[in-house]
């Protein structure tokens, strides 16, 4: 094997007119680009509805889980610092900042669920946080996205005994402790994943601190 044929890539194409002309190169590439664009536009159109459907379902499942399957679920959108039943104009309702309000069969409010995030050990921890806006008592949380260390930080998802502590705790604000505790506003952090546990607590406090005043103001305004 001489090796020369391999040194400089493929030699010229078999047909003599297959190279050189700048026009030919441009036209070929442009044509390929246009074709690829058309194929992708078609695929995008076809896959957009199921992708959006899943994104909506995922949030709905999380909301129902943290609010304990409420009889009725309302959505309020944040428009200009205030809550409103109508989504802000010109914004995709899926992308808009919003809060979900759960009520029981008698029409009494049982809890509010919001999406919030804070940095953990190696990623942002995104949670759906459920709490009772009048008492600041938590109804639960669900991890929407995280890429924390497998086997340590991801216990916030996999270790159910961590998540079980939260319902009923008061976020005024919520604190973490490495020892077992009976304090109404303290939870036990996970051994080896203190930073991630504290991130969960931080997200919950942030959610309650930001959204309780908004919900209070909305309730005072007679729900308008």
């Amino acid at each position: 094997m001489t090796g020369h044929e391999h040194a400089h890539g493929a030699p010229s194409a078999p047909t003599p007119d297959a190279g050189s002309s700048a026009l030919r190169l441009t036209v070929t590439l442009a044509l390929f680009g246009a074709l690829a664009g058309a194929v992708l536009a078609y695929t995008y159109q076809k896959t957009l509805p199921p992708i959006r459907k899943f994104a909506g379902e995922r949030v709905e499942i999380a909301v129902k889980e943290v609010l304990g399957a409420p009889a009725k679920l309302d959505t309020l959108y944040l428009v200009g610092g205030k809550l409103s039943k109508a989504p802000p104009a010109g914004v995709d309702p899926l992308e808009a900042v919003k809060v979900f309000i759960g009520s029981n069969a008698q029409g009494e409010q049982t809890g509010a669920a919001v999406e919030e995030a804070a940095p953990g050990f190696s990623s942002d921890v995104h949670l759906m946080v459920g709490f009772n806006p009048s008492t600041s008592a938590l109804t639960g949380f669900k991890v929407l996205a995280q890429t924390e260390t497998p086997g340590l930080g991801d216990k916030i998802v996999k270790d159910s005994s961590f998540a079980k502590q939260f319902p009923g705790k008061l976020a005024n604000p919520l604190k973490g402790d490495k020892n077992p505790t009976t304090d109404p506003s303290t939870v036990q952090t996970i051994t080896g994943a203190t930073i991630t546990s504290k991130a969960v607590i931080k997200v919950i406090n942030k959610a309650v601190e930001t959204w309780k005043p908004r919900l209070d103001a909305y309730a005072k305004g007679g729900g308008q």
Binding site: A10, G19, T28, L29, L48, P150
Partner: protein
């Protein structure tokens, strides 16, 4: 081993310099699985093999996407080999590959959303996977579509075998599960290290060691026979 001995088996197809020598189709398929395995022998596509091999489910999903992109782009590259000007062939190949990758990414997001979530950016990154551009340049651009498809399928299956064995090993040792089923009961304390990046390096190193030992043994046996 030299190209001088190659005889044009197919008169209709002029031999393109640097083209793979003509041979039976099964060999084109088998080469990708065994003696030219993309991961274990050619050492291509190591980045996804490292990143998504922490569970078998991820490995299977990734392999399916790679096989789809590899076969489709190889067939298209081969069909268009006389249309694509030599000077812009790499740009055209990347364009073709990127189109199929985006299609598979969108389809995964739409119909396998959970898998798409865990694979994250590694599906879009198939665009820069050397296996696919490598096969387009070294093989598909120089042969007829049927051979290109068979070769691509072989390489894809070879990638699958390598990725899934690494992934299965890492998941069993590092998480105590296989495809999510607990193998050793709930009291097993998994060796978490194995599903983290260092475990990936270690597993691949062991794999390469085994392949090297296997190759040496084969060579020694061959020398014994000829001696």
């Amino acid at each position: 081993m030299t190209t001088d001995t190659v005889v044009a088996a197919d008169a209709a197809e002029p031999i393109v310099p640097g083209a793979p020598p003509p041979g039976p189709l099964w060999l084109d398929f088998w080469r990708g699985i065994a003696q030219d395995n993309p991961v274990m022998i050619q050492m291509l596509g190591l980045c996804p093999s490292m990143a998504v091999s922490n569970s078998l489910a991820n490995g299977i999903g990734m392999s399916a996407a790679v096989i789809f992109v590899l076969v489709m782009s190889s067939v298209l590259v081969s069909s268009l080999r006389k249309v694509i000007p030599n000077e812009v062939r790499l740009a055209s190949y990347i364009l073709i590959i990127a189109t199929f990758v985006t299609i598979s990414d969108l389809v995964m997001q739409a119909y396998f959303p959970l898998l798409s979530n865990t694979l994250g950016p590694f599906v879009p990154l198939i665009v820069v996977n050397c296996i696919i551009l490598g096969r387009a340049e070294a093989f598909a651009g120089k042969v007829k579509p049927l051979r290109a498809a068979v070769d691509a399928l072989g390489m894809g299956v070879g990638f699958t075998v390598a990725l899934c064995s690494i992934a299965a090993f890492r998941e069993v040792v590092g998480n105590g599960t296989l495809l999510g089923y607990h193998l050793f009961g709930l009291n097993y304390e998994p060796w978490v290290f194995m599903i983290m990046p260092p475990g990936g390096f270690l597993t691949m190193g062991l794999g390469f060691l085994f392949m090297g030992w296997w190759g040496e043994r084969k060579k020694a046996k061959l020398a014994e026979v000829t001696a």
